[in-house]
Assembly symmetry: C2
Homo-oligomer: 164 residues x 2
């Protein structure tokens, strides 16, 4: 649990979701081109092409992307980058998220009745989802040189003020 490699874990989104966000951001930053192939995007970031391909396929199936086979084909955002939230991306790739190990939706865990912690934590979960929903791909893409504070009226800005 703490074998002293480094130490991070917890609340982390999967690498796949990370890759997905990176790809969407990339697409948002290249609106001029009609489509970008999976390989192009993968090469741009140095991530495994085949893996990214499957991720993009999933994003296509959920309607966030539109794909086009054949030469000069590839993927393109299905709508404005401002209208795609980080939540949608993560949800599409990693599935519905819930902060407690056991969900209440279906079967839950065996000791669900005795666990009284779950309920209040659900509220935390809602908050997190709300934050993720308030961030759009556009927000991730536009800050040019990493100067995050300049953004203006985007959700990222809202986040800072919200941060207690």
């Amino acid at each position: 649990m703490r074998t002293e490699p480094v130490g991070y874990y917890m609340l982390k989104l999967t690498k796949k979701a990370d890759y997905g966000l990176m790809a969407l951001k990339y697409l948002a930053e290249h609106p001029e081109t009609p489509a970008q192939s999976a390989k192009d995007i993968a090469d741009a970031y140095g991530i495994p092409a085949q893996l990214l391909a499957k991720i993009l396929q999933r994003l296509t199936k959920t309607g966030l992307l539109r794909s086009h086979a054949g030469m000069n084909g590839g993927y393109a955002l299905s709508r404005d980058a401002r209208k795609i939230s980080a939540f949608e991306v993560i949800h599409a790739i990693d599935g519905p998220l819930f902060i407690t190990s056991c969900t209440k939706g279906a079967k839950g865990c065996d000791l669900t009745p005795s666990c009284t912690i779950k309920e209040p934590l659900a509220r935390v979960n809602e908050t997190i989802i709300g934050v993720l929903k308030s961030i759009s791909i556009y927000d991730l893409a536009d800050q040019e040189s990493g100067k995050a504070a300049v953004v203006g009226t985007t959700a990222v800005q809202r986040l800072v003020t919200l941060n207690l």
Copy 2:
């Protein structure tokens, strides 16, 4: 990834952290007794005793609990339940949390330089941590019959209004 078992995952805290929170809540609800043994708490919730033991040991090492060996020994909160945040508990058990798969603290992942997503997500992470910090063990414990709305000025209350 979506083999259609049910679907939850993501952003979930580990069961160990869940157990830890449950135990702390339990202790907060029994202030009269000087100490509760690991086994007692484990039995109360039906969770594996040996596992909970190790969790409590860790919480002790980080200073959230005080332990006492020997007969009628056990664990007790080291300070007021109001002064112990959910964040501290989770952090103690699961280690430092970071939303991206790769931390920036130590080595990070190999493609850290090319990944531009990480930075904005770090802000989301800060927000989440803030929320977790604003919740105390006391908040988890006191709402008697699950009527969360009654709480008053606690952090849980704040959360609801905060939730956008």
